[in-house]
Subunit: 259 residues, 2 copies
Amino acid sequence: MKTLIVHAHPEPKSLNSSLTDLAVTTLEAAGHEVRVSDLYAMNWKPVVDADDYGPEASSPLAVARDSGRAFETGTLTADVRAEQEKLLWADTIIFQFPLWWYSMPAILKGWVDRVFTYRFAYGVGEHSETKYGERYGEGTLAGKKALLSVTIGGPEPHYGPRGINGPIEDLLFPIHHGILFYPGIESLPPFVVYGADRLSEDAYATAAQAWEQRLRTIATTDPIPFRRQNFGDYDIPSLALKPGLEPAGSTGFSLHIRP
Amino acid sequence: MKTLIVHAHPEPKSLNSSLTDLAVTTLEAAGHEVRVSDLYAMNWKPVVDADDYGPEASSPLAVARDSGRAFETGTLTADVRAEQEKLLWADTIIFQFPLWWYSMPAILKGWVDRVFTYRFAYGVGEHSETKYGERYGEGTLAGKKALLSVTIGGPEPHYGPRGINGPIEDLLFPIHHGILFYPGIESLPPFVVYGADRLSEDAYATAAQAWEQRLRTIATTDPIPFRRQNFGDYDIPSLALKPGLEPAGSTGFSLHIRP
Protein backbone atom coordinates (compact mmCIF):
# COMPACT_ATOMS: atom_id res chain seq x y z
CA MET A 1 0.00 0.00 0.00
CA LYS A 2 1.22 3.52 -0.82
CA THR A 3 -0.38 6.00 1.52
CA LEU A 4 -0.40 9.78 1.37
CA ILE A 5 -1.40 11.48 4.63
CA VAL A 6 -2.62 15.06 4.23
CA HIS A 7 -2.33 16.60 7.67
CA ALA A 8 -3.90 19.94 8.61
CA HIS A 9 -3.31 21.17 12.16
CA PRO A 10 -1.23 24.12 13.37
CA GLU A 11 0.13 22.43 16.52
CA PRO A 12 2.80 19.69 16.25
CA LYS A 13 1.88 18.47 19.76
CA SER A 14 -1.84 18.16 19.01
CA LEU A 15 -4.11 15.14 19.06
CA ASN A 16 -4.17 15.40 15.27
CA SER A 17 -0.39 15.15 15.15
CA SER A 18 -0.43 12.14 17.46
CA LEU A 19 -2.91 10.41 15.18
CA THR A 20 -0.81 11.18 12.10
CA ASP A 21 2.36 9.94 13.82
CA LEU A 22 0.55 6.78 14.84
CA ALA A 23 -0.63 6.27 11.27
CA VAL A 24 2.92 6.59 9.94
CA THR A 25 4.40 4.12 12.44
CA THR A 26 1.50 1.65 12.14
CA LEU A 27 1.52 1.61 8.35
CA GLU A 28 5.31 1.50 8.04
CA ALA A 29 5.49 -1.33 10.58
CA ALA A 30 3.07 -3.24 8.35
CA GLY A 31 5.43 -2.77 5.41
CA HIS A 32 3.63 0.04 3.62
CA GLU A 33 5.10 3.18 2.07
CA VAL A 34 3.92 6.45 3.60
CA ARG A 35 4.32 10.09 2.58
CA VAL A 36 2.99 13.00 4.62
CA SER A 37 1.88 16.42 3.41
CA ASP A 38 1.93 18.43 6.65
CA LEU A 39 0.25 21.55 5.32
CA TYR A 40 1.15 23.91 8.16
CA ALA A 41 4.78 22.70 8.21
CA MET A 42 4.89 23.19 4.42
CA ASN A 43 3.50 26.71 4.82
CA TRP A 44 0.94 25.68 2.22
CA LYS A 45 -0.49 28.61 0.21
CA PRO A 46 -4.24 28.17 0.65
CA VAL A 47 -5.54 30.78 -1.75
CA VAL A 48 -6.31 30.35 -5.45
CA ASP A 49 -5.16 33.39 -7.40
CA ALA A 50 -3.50 34.37 -10.69
CA ASP A 51 -0.04 33.51 -9.31
CA ASP A 52 -1.07 29.84 -9.58
CA TYR A 53 -1.15 30.01 -13.38
CA GLY A 54 2.03 31.86 -14.27
CA PRO A 55 2.58 34.73 -16.70
CA GLU A 56 0.05 33.23 -19.10
CA ALA A 57 -2.86 33.59 -16.69
CA SER A 58 -5.71 35.25 -18.52
CA SER A 59 -7.06 38.62 -17.54
CA PRO A 60 -9.73 38.58 -16.32
CA LEU A 61 -8.74 35.39 -14.54
CA ALA A 62 -10.93 32.35 -15.28
CA VAL A 63 -10.04 29.80 -12.63
CA ALA A 64 -11.32 26.69 -14.38
CA ARG A 65 -9.91 27.52 -17.80
CA ASP A 66 -6.62 28.89 -16.49
CA SER A 67 -6.00 25.97 -14.16
CA GLY A 68 -6.79 23.51 -16.96
CA ARG A 69 -4.41 25.20 -19.36
CA ALA A 70 -1.65 25.32 -16.73
CA PHE A 71 -2.24 21.66 -15.90
CA GLU A 72 -2.08 20.59 -19.54
CA THR A 73 1.06 22.58 -20.28
CA GLY A 74 2.79 21.48 -17.08
CA THR A 75 3.03 25.06 -15.84
CA LEU A 76 1.17 24.79 -12.55
CA THR A 77 3.29 25.94 -9.63
CA ALA A 78 5.75 23.39 -8.23
CA ASP A 79 3.85 23.01 -4.94
CA VAL A 80 0.63 22.06 -6.74
CA ARG A 81 2.42 19.74 -9.18
CA ALA A 82 4.08 17.96 -6.25
CA GLU A 83 0.73 17.31 -4.57
CA GLN A 84 -0.83 16.05 -7.80
CA GLU A 85 2.14 13.69 -8.21
CA LYS A 86 1.69 12.43 -4.65
CA LEU A 87 -1.99 11.76 -5.37
CA LEU A 88 -1.10 9.83 -8.52
CA TRP A 89 1.57 7.86 -6.59
CA ALA A 90 -0.72 6.94 -3.68
CA ASP A 91 -3.31 4.20 -3.67
CA THR A 92 -4.66 5.38 -0.31
CA ILE A 93 -5.08 8.92 0.98
CA ILE A 94 -5.69 9.74 4.64
CA PHE A 95 -6.89 13.20 5.60
CA GLN A 96 -6.17 14.12 9.23
CA PHE A 97 -7.89 17.30 10.41
CA PRO A 98 -10.04 18.88 13.11
CA LEU A 99 -13.63 19.67 12.14
CA TRP A 100 -13.77 23.47 12.28
CA TRP A 101 -17.19 24.96 11.71
CA TYR A 102 -18.49 21.66 10.35
CA SER A 103 -15.90 21.49 7.60
CA MET A 104 -12.16 21.39 6.92
CA PRO A 105 -9.71 24.01 8.19
CA ALA A 106 -9.11 26.67 5.53
CA ILE A 107 -5.59 25.41 4.82
CA LEU A 108 -6.95 22.01 3.79
CA LYS A 109 -9.79 23.52 1.76
CA GLY A 110 -7.11 25.57 0.02
CA TRP A 111 -5.18 22.38 -0.73
CA VAL A 112 -8.29 21.05 -2.46
CA ASP A 113 -9.04 24.35 -4.23
CA ARG A 114 -5.50 24.54 -5.66
CA VAL A 115 -4.58 20.87 -6.26
CA PHE A 116 -7.90 19.66 -7.69
CA THR A 117 -7.52 21.63 -10.92
CA TYR A 118 -9.57 21.52 -14.10
CA ARG A 119 -8.51 18.65 -16.39
CA PHE A 120 -6.97 16.88 -13.37
CA ALA A 121 -9.90 16.55 -10.95
CA TYR A 122 -12.79 18.05 -12.92
CA GLY A 123 -13.46 18.77 -16.56
CA VAL A 124 -12.29 15.22 -17.32
CA GLY A 125 -13.88 13.24 -20.17
CA GLU A 126 -16.60 14.11 -22.68
CA HIS A 127 -19.03 16.87 -21.70
CA SER A 128 -22.01 16.92 -24.04
CA GLU A 129 -25.79 16.53 -24.02
CA THR A 130 -25.34 12.77 -23.58
CA LYS A 131 -22.46 12.66 -21.10
CA TYR A 132 -21.37 15.01 -18.34
CA GLY A 133 -17.78 13.99 -17.84
CA GLU A 134 -16.01 11.18 -16.08
CA ARG A 135 -16.82 11.92 -12.48
CA TYR A 136 -18.47 10.40 -9.45
CA GLY A 137 -16.74 7.07 -9.57
CA GLU A 138 -14.63 7.65 -12.66
CA GLY A 139 -11.88 10.15 -13.34
CA THR A 140 -8.17 10.72 -12.84
CA LEU A 141 -8.08 9.24 -9.34
CA ALA A 142 -10.40 6.25 -9.86
CA GLY A 143 -9.33 3.11 -8.03
CA LYS A 144 -7.87 4.99 -5.06
CA LYS A 145 -9.25 4.97 -1.54
CA ALA A 146 -9.52 7.74 1.05
CA LEU A 147 -10.08 7.74 4.79
CA LEU A 148 -10.99 10.86 6.75
CA SER A 149 -9.64 10.95 10.30
CA VAL A 150 -11.47 13.77 12.02
CA THR A 151 -11.27 15.20 15.53
CA ILE A 152 -14.36 16.97 16.87
CA GLY A 153 -14.66 19.08 20.01
CA GLY A 154 -18.32 18.32 20.72
CA PRO A 155 -19.90 15.11 22.01
CA GLU A 156 -21.00 12.28 19.72
CA PRO A 157 -24.79 12.51 20.31
CA HIS A 158 -24.82 16.05 18.86
CA TYR A 159 -23.78 14.43 15.55
CA GLY A 160 -26.16 11.46 15.65
CA PRO A 161 -29.12 10.79 13.33
CA ARG A 162 -31.27 13.29 15.28
CA GLY A 163 -28.43 15.37 16.75
CA ILE A 164 -28.62 19.15 16.55
CA ASN A 165 -25.48 19.57 14.43
CA GLY A 166 -26.75 17.19 11.78
CA PRO A 167 -25.55 13.60 11.23
CA ILE A 168 -21.79 13.35 10.81
CA GLU A 169 -22.29 11.30 7.62
CA ASP A 170 -24.22 14.18 6.07
CA LEU A 171 -21.77 16.85 7.27
CA LEU A 172 -18.94 14.89 5.63
CA PHE A 173 -20.90 14.10 2.44
CA PRO A 174 -19.62 17.20 0.59
CA ILE A 175 -16.07 15.91 1.23
CA HIS A 176 -16.63 12.17 0.70
CA HIS A 177 -18.84 12.59 -2.35
CA GLY A 178 -18.36 16.13 -3.66
CA ILE A 179 -14.57 16.34 -3.36
CA LEU A 180 -13.28 12.74 -3.28
CA PHE A 181 -15.74 10.60 -5.25
CA TYR A 182 -15.95 13.30 -7.94
CA PRO A 183 -12.48 12.54 -9.35
CA GLY A 184 -12.98 8.84 -8.62
CA ILE A 185 -11.72 8.24 -5.06
CA GLU A 186 -13.78 5.87 -2.89
CA SER A 187 -13.96 6.73 0.81
CA LEU A 188 -13.95 4.30 3.68
CA PRO A 189 -16.25 5.16 6.60
CA PRO A 190 -14.61 8.01 8.55
CA PHE A 191 -12.66 7.63 11.79
CA VAL A 192 -13.98 10.23 14.22
CA VAL A 193 -12.76 11.17 17.71
CA TYR A 194 -15.37 13.18 19.62
CA GLY A 195 -14.74 15.29 22.73
CA ALA A 196 -11.30 16.00 21.32
CA ASP A 197 -10.69 19.19 23.29
CA ARG A 198 -10.79 17.39 26.63
CA LEU A 199 -9.60 13.89 25.87
CA SER A 200 -8.37 12.00 28.96
CA GLU A 201 -5.33 9.73 28.75
CA ASP A 202 -7.60 6.70 28.92
CA ALA A 203 -9.83 8.06 26.18
CA TYR A 204 -6.76 8.76 24.05
CA ALA A 205 -5.52 5.21 24.55
CA THR A 206 -8.89 3.87 23.45
CA ALA A 207 -8.96 6.16 20.41
CA ALA A 208 -5.40 5.25 19.46
CA GLN A 209 -6.21 1.55 19.63
CA ALA A 210 -9.29 2.04 17.47
CA TRP A 211 -7.26 4.08 14.97
CA GLU A 212 -4.58 1.37 14.71
CA GLN A 213 -7.32 -1.17 14.09
CA ARG A 214 -8.81 0.97 11.32
CA LEU A 215 -5.37 1.47 9.75
CA ARG A 216 -4.65 -2.27 9.77
CA THR A 217 -7.94 -3.07 8.06
CA ILE A 218 -7.93 -0.46 5.29
CA ALA A 219 -7.52 -3.11 2.60
CA THR A 220 -10.50 -5.13 3.81
CA THR A 221 -12.93 -2.30 4.73
CA ASP A 222 -15.79 -1.65 2.33
CA PRO A 223 -16.05 1.91 1.02
CA ILE A 224 -19.19 4.04 1.24
CA PRO A 225 -21.19 2.71 -1.74
CA PHE A 226 -21.93 5.96 -3.58
CA ARG A 227 -23.76 5.57 -6.87
CA ARG A 228 -21.57 6.01 -9.93
CA GLN A 229 -22.70 8.67 -12.40
CA ASN A 230 -22.39 6.90 -15.71
CA PHE A 231 -23.81 3.46 -15.01
CA GLY A 232 -27.55 3.91 -15.42
CA ASP A 233 -28.80 5.36 -12.13
CA TYR A 234 -29.12 8.96 -13.33
CA ASP A 235 -31.16 10.63 -16.05
CA ILE A 236 -29.23 12.48 -18.74
CA PRO A 237 -28.78 15.47 -18.94
CA SER A 238 -30.50 16.40 -15.66
CA LEU A 239 -28.39 13.95 -13.65
CA ALA A 240 -31.35 13.47 -11.35
CA LEU A 241 -31.61 10.04 -9.77
CA LYS A 242 -34.10 7.93 -11.70
CA PRO A 243 -37.38 7.27 -9.87
CA GLY A 244 -37.77 4.22 -7.70
CA LEU A 245 -34.12 3.34 -7.15
CA GLU A 246 -34.00 4.42 -3.51
CA PRO A 247 -35.47 2.79 -0.41
CA ALA A 248 -38.88 4.25 0.49
CA GLY A 249 -38.59 7.54 2.36
CA SER A 250 -34.97 8.16 1.41
CA THR A 251 -34.21 11.82 0.59
CA GLY A 252 -31.31 14.25 0.36
CA PHE A 253 -27.74 13.00 0.33
CA SER A 254 -28.74 9.43 1.16
CA LEU A 255 -30.30 9.07 -2.31
CA HIS A 256 -26.79 8.84 -3.70
CA ILE A 257 -25.78 5.81 -1.67
CA ARG A 258 -26.66 2.38 -3.01
CA PRO A 259 -29.00 0.55 -0.65
CA MET B 1 -30.19 48.75 7.27
CA LYS B 2 -26.47 48.31 7.91
CA THR B 3 -25.04 45.71 5.57
CA LEU B 4 -21.67 44.03 5.61
CA ILE B 5 -20.75 42.28 2.37
CA VAL B 6 -18.05 39.64 2.70
CA HIS B 7 -16.71 39.11 -0.80
CA ALA B 8 -14.45 36.21 -1.78
CA HIS B 9 -13.28 36.08 -5.39
CA PRO B 10 -9.78 36.61 -6.81
CA GLU B 11 -10.87 38.46 -9.97
CA PRO B 12 -12.14 42.07 -9.75
CA LYS B 13 -13.85 41.66 -13.15
CA SER B 14 -15.70 38.48 -12.21
CA LEU B 15 -19.40 37.77 -12.03
CA ASN B 16 -19.00 37.73 -8.25
CA SER B 17 -17.56 41.23 -8.32
CA SER B 18 -20.41 42.44 -10.53
CA LEU B 19 -22.93 41.05 -8.05
CA THR B 20 -21.15 42.69 -5.12
CA ASP B 21 -20.97 46.02 -6.97
CA LEU B 22 -24.65 45.75 -7.78
CA ALA B 23 -25.44 45.04 -4.14
CA VAL B 24 -23.53 48.11 -3.02
CA THR B 25 -25.23 50.45 -5.49
CA THR B 26 -28.70 48.95 -4.97
CA LEU B 27 -28.53 49.09 -1.18
CA GLU B 28 -26.96 52.56 -1.08
CA ALA B 29 -29.55 53.89 -3.52
CA ALA B 30 -32.20 52.64 -1.11
CA GLY B 31 -30.60 54.65 1.70
CA HIS B 32 -28.77 51.83 3.47
CA GLU B 33 -25.24 51.85 4.83
CA VAL B 34 -22.89 49.30 3.27
CA ARG B 35 -19.40 48.11 4.13
CA VAL B 36 -17.46 45.57 2.08
CA SER B 37 -14.80 43.12 3.22
CA ASP B 38 -13.15 42.18 -0.06
CA LEU B 39 -11.02 39.32 1.25
CA TYR B 40 -8.66 39.01 -1.73
CA ALA B 41 -8.16 42.78 -1.92
CA MET B 42 -7.47 42.81 1.83
CA ASN B 43 -4.94 40.01 1.38
CA TRP B 44 -6.84 38.24 4.15
CA LYS B 45 -4.73 35.73 6.13
CA PRO B 46 -6.78 32.55 5.91
CA VAL B 47 -4.87 30.32 8.29
CA VAL B 48 -5.41 29.93 12.04
CA ASP B 49 -2.08 29.72 13.82
CA ALA B 50 -0.28 30.88 16.98
CA ASP B 51 0.36 34.31 15.45
CA ASP B 52 -3.34 35.02 15.89
CA TYR B 53 -3.05 35.00 19.67
CA GLY B 54 0.05 37.05 20.33
CA PRO B 55 3.00 36.37 22.63
CA GLU B 56 0.69 34.84 25.22
CA ALA B 57 -0.40 31.99 22.95
CA SER B 58 -0.04 28.77 24.89
CA SER B 59 2.35 26.02 23.87
CA PRO B 60 1.07 23.62 22.79
CA LEU B 61 -1.46 25.84 21.07
CA ALA B 62 -5.09 25.23 22.04
CA VAL B 63 -7.14 27.05 19.40
CA ALA B 64 -10.40 27.35 21.35
CA ARG B 65 -8.84 28.37 24.66
CA ASP B 66 -6.25 30.68 23.13
CA SER B 67 -8.74 32.42 20.86
CA GLY B 68 -11.14 32.89 23.78
CA ARG B 69 -8.43 34.39 25.99
CA ALA B 70 -7.27 36.71 23.21
CA PHE B 71 -10.86 37.75 22.52
CA GLU B 72 -11.57 38.50 26.18
CA THR B 73 -8.36 40.46 26.69
CA GLY B 74 -8.75 42.41 23.44
CA THR B 75 -5.51 41.00 22.10
CA LEU B 76 -6.74 39.35 18.93
CA THR B 77 -4.95 40.64 15.85
CA ALA B 78 -6.24 43.92 14.41
CA ASP B 79 -7.57 42.28 11.24
CA VAL B 80 -9.75 39.86 13.23
CA ARG B 81 -10.93 42.57 15.65
CA ALA B 82 -11.95 44.73 12.70
CA GLU B 83 -14.09 41.95 11.22
CA GLN B 84 -15.73 41.21 14.57
CA GLU B 85 -16.54 44.92 14.89
CA LYS B 86 -18.07 44.96 11.41
CA LEU B 87 -20.22 41.97 12.35
CA LEU B 88 -21.40 43.73 15.51
CA TRP B 89 -22.10 46.91 13.51
CA ALA B 90 -24.09 45.18 10.75
CA ASP B 91 -27.68 44.03 10.98
CA THR B 92 -27.39 42.19 7.67
CA ILE B 93 -24.45 40.22 6.28
CA ILE B 94 -24.18 39.19 2.64
CA PHE B 95 -21.66 36.56 1.61
CA GLN B 96 -20.70 36.68 -2.06
CA PHE B 97 -18.67 33.71 -3.27
CA PRO B 98 -18.31 31.00 -5.90
CA LEU B 99 -19.12 27.47 -4.76
CA TRP B 100 -15.79 25.68 -5.02
CA TRP B 101 -15.90 21.96 -4.34
CA TYR B 102 -19.36 22.27 -2.79
CA SER B 103 -18.26 24.79 -0.16
CA MET B 104 -16.67 28.21 0.31
CA PRO B 105 -13.32 29.21 -1.19
CA ALA B 106 -10.53 28.67 1.36
CA ILE B 107 -10.06 32.41 1.92
CA LEU B 108 -13.67 32.72 3.13
CA LYS B 109 -13.44 29.57 5.26
CA GLY B 110 -10.35 31.14 6.79
CA TRP B 111 -12.32 34.30 7.54
CA VAL B 112 -14.79 32.14 9.48
CA ASP B 113 -12.06 30.07 11.17
CA ARG B 114 -10.25 33.22 12.41
CA VAL B 115 -13.10 35.69 13.07
CA PHE B 116 -15.57 33.28 14.72
CA THR B 117 -13.46 32.87 17.87
CA TYR B 118 -14.28 31.17 21.13
CA ARG B 119 -16.27 33.48 23.47
CA PHE B 120 -17.35 35.52 20.43
CA ALA B 121 -19.07 32.96 18.18
CA TYR B 122 -18.88 29.77 20.26
CA GLY B 123 -18.32 28.97 23.90
CA VAL B 124 -20.96 31.61 24.72
CA GLY B 125 -23.29 31.13 27.72
CA GLU B 126 -23.53 28.38 30.32
CA HIS B 127 -22.15 24.97 29.39
CA SER B 128 -23.28 22.34 31.87
CA GLU B 129 -25.28 19.11 32.07
CA THR B 130 -28.50 21.14 31.75
CA LYS B 131 -27.49 23.70 29.13
CA TYR B 132 -25.04 23.57 26.23
CA GLY B 133 -24.42 27.23 25.56
CA GLU B 134 -26.28 29.98 23.81
CA ARG B 135 -26.15 28.81 20.25
CA TYR B 136 -28.40 27.90 17.34
CA GLY B 137 -30.64 30.91 17.50
CA GLU B 138 -29.03 32.65 20.46
CA GLY B 139 -25.55 34.06 20.88
CA THR B 140 -23.45 37.11 20.18
CA LEU B 141 -24.92 37.72 16.73
CA ALA B 142 -28.59 36.98 17.46
CA GLY B 143 -31.04 39.25 15.68
CA LYS B 144 -28.89 39.64 12.59
CA LYS B 145 -29.69 38.28 9.15
CA ALA B 146 -27.47 36.74 6.50
CA LEU B 147 -27.90 36.11 2.80
CA LEU B 148 -25.60 33.86 0.77
CA SER B 149 -25.12 34.91 -2.84
CA VAL B 150 -23.48 31.99 -4.56
CA THR B 151 -22.30 31.41 -8.11
CA ILE B 152 -22.12 27.84 -9.36
CA GLY B 153 -20.53 26.51 -12.54
CA GLY B 154 -22.86 23.56 -13.02
CA PRO B 155 -26.49 23.47 -14.12
CA GLU B 156 -29.39 23.81 -11.67
CA PRO B 157 -30.87 20.29 -12.07
CA HIS B 158 -27.63 18.76 -10.74
CA TYR B 159 -28.45 20.53 -7.44
CA GLY B 160 -32.15 19.67 -7.30
CA PRO B 161 -33.91 17.38 -4.81
CA ARG B 162 -32.70 14.28 -6.72
CA GLY B 163 -29.69 15.89 -8.42
CA ILE B 164 -26.38 14.06 -8.34
CA ASN B 165 -24.51 16.78 -6.41
CA GLY B 166 -27.06 16.78 -3.59
CA PRO B 167 -29.74 19.44 -2.99
CA ILE B 168 -28.29 22.95 -2.79
CA GLU B 169 -30.17 23.49 0.50
CA ASP B 170 -28.35 20.55 2.04
CA LEU B 171 -24.96 21.54 0.63
CA LEU B 172 -25.39 25.00 2.18
CA PHE B 173 -26.78 23.69 5.50
CA PRO B 174 -23.34 23.55 7.17
CA ILE B 175 -22.98 27.27 6.38
CA HIS B 176 -26.54 28.42 7.06
CA HIS B 177 -26.99 26.36 10.21
CA GLY B 178 -23.54 25.29 11.39
CA ILE B 179 -21.71 28.60 10.87
CA LEU B 180 -24.38 31.31 10.84
CA PHE B 181 -27.26 30.13 13.01
CA TYR B 182 -24.79 28.83 15.61
CA PRO B 183 -23.88 32.34 16.88
CA GLY B 184 -27.46 33.50 16.29
CA ILE B 185 -27.64 34.75 12.70
CA GLU B 186 -30.78 33.87 10.72
CA SER B 187 -30.29 33.19 7.01
CA LEU B 188 -32.63 34.17 4.22
CA PRO B 189 -33.00 31.64 1.40
CA PRO B 190 -29.84 31.80 -0.73
CA PHE B 191 -29.50 33.60 -4.05
CA VAL B 192 -27.87 31.20 -6.51
CA VAL B 193 -26.68 31.77 -10.08
CA TYR B 194 -26.12 28.49 -11.93
CA GLY B 195 -24.12 28.02 -15.13
CA ALA B 196 -21.90 30.84 -13.92
CA ASP B 197 -18.89 29.92 -16.05
CA ARG B 198 -20.73 30.47 -19.30
CA LEU B 199 -23.32 33.15 -18.50
CA SER B 200 -24.62 34.97 -21.57
CA GLU B 201 -25.33 38.71 -21.46
CA ASP B 202 -29.05 38.00 -21.38
CA ALA B 203 -28.66 35.49 -18.58
CA TYR B 204 -26.57 38.01 -16.64
CA ALA B 205 -29.23 40.67 -17.09
CA THR B 206 -31.87 38.27 -15.76
CA ALA B 207 -29.67 37.29 -12.81
CA ALA B 208 -28.88 40.92 -12.00
CA GLN B 209 -32.57 41.82 -12.01
CA ALA B 210 -33.35 38.90 -9.71
CA TRP B 211 -30.49 39.91 -7.41
CA GLU B 212 -31.74 43.51 -7.19
CA GLN B 213 -35.18 42.20 -6.32
CA ARG B 214 -33.76 39.99 -3.56
CA LEU B 215 -31.74 42.92 -2.19
CA ARG B 216 -34.78 45.22 -2.14
CA THR B 217 -36.84 42.66 -0.23
CA ILE B 218 -34.35 41.62 2.45
CA ALA B 219 -36.41 43.22 5.20
CA THR B 220 -39.58 41.38 4.23
CA THR B 221 -38.15 37.96 3.34
CA ASP B 222 -38.69 35.17 5.86
CA PRO B 223 -35.53 33.43 7.07
CA ILE B 224 -35.02 29.67 6.95
CA PRO B 225 -36.91 28.54 10.07
CA PHE B 226 -34.22 26.52 11.83
CA ARG B 227 -35.21 25.15 15.23
CA ARG B 228 -33.67 27.04 18.14
CA GLN B 229 -31.63 24.95 20.58
CA ASN B 230 -32.91 26.11 23.94
CA PHE B 231 -36.68 26.31 23.42
CA GLY B 232 -37.87 22.78 24.03
CA ASP B 233 -37.29 20.92 20.76
CA TYR B 234 -34.14 19.09 21.86
CA ASP B 235 -33.39 16.61 24.62
CA ILE B 236 -30.73 17.62 27.15
CA PRO B 237 -27.84 16.74 27.21
CA SER B 238 -27.93 14.66 24.01
CA LEU B 239 -29.33 17.56 21.98
CA ALA B 240 -31.15 15.03 19.86
CA LEU B 241 -34.45 16.25 18.41
CA LYS B 242 -37.31 15.00 20.55
CA PRO B 243 -39.44 12.27 18.92
CA GLY B 244 -42.47 13.20 16.87
CA LEU B 245 -41.69 16.84 16.14
CA GLU B 246 -40.86 16.34 12.48
CA PRO B 247 -43.13 15.62 9.52
CA ALA B 248 -43.36 11.89 8.77
CA GLY B 249 -40.38 10.66 6.77
CA SER B 250 -38.19 13.67 7.50
CA THR B 251 -34.53 12.81 8.14
CA GLY B 252 -31.07 14.33 8.14
CA PHE B 253 -30.64 18.09 8.01
CA SER B 254 -34.33 18.73 7.36
CA LEU B 255 -35.14 17.60 10.92
CA HIS B 256 -33.74 20.91 12.12
CA ILE B 257 -36.13 23.07 10.14
CA ARG B 258 -39.53 23.81 11.66
CA PRO B 259 -42.32 22.42 9.48
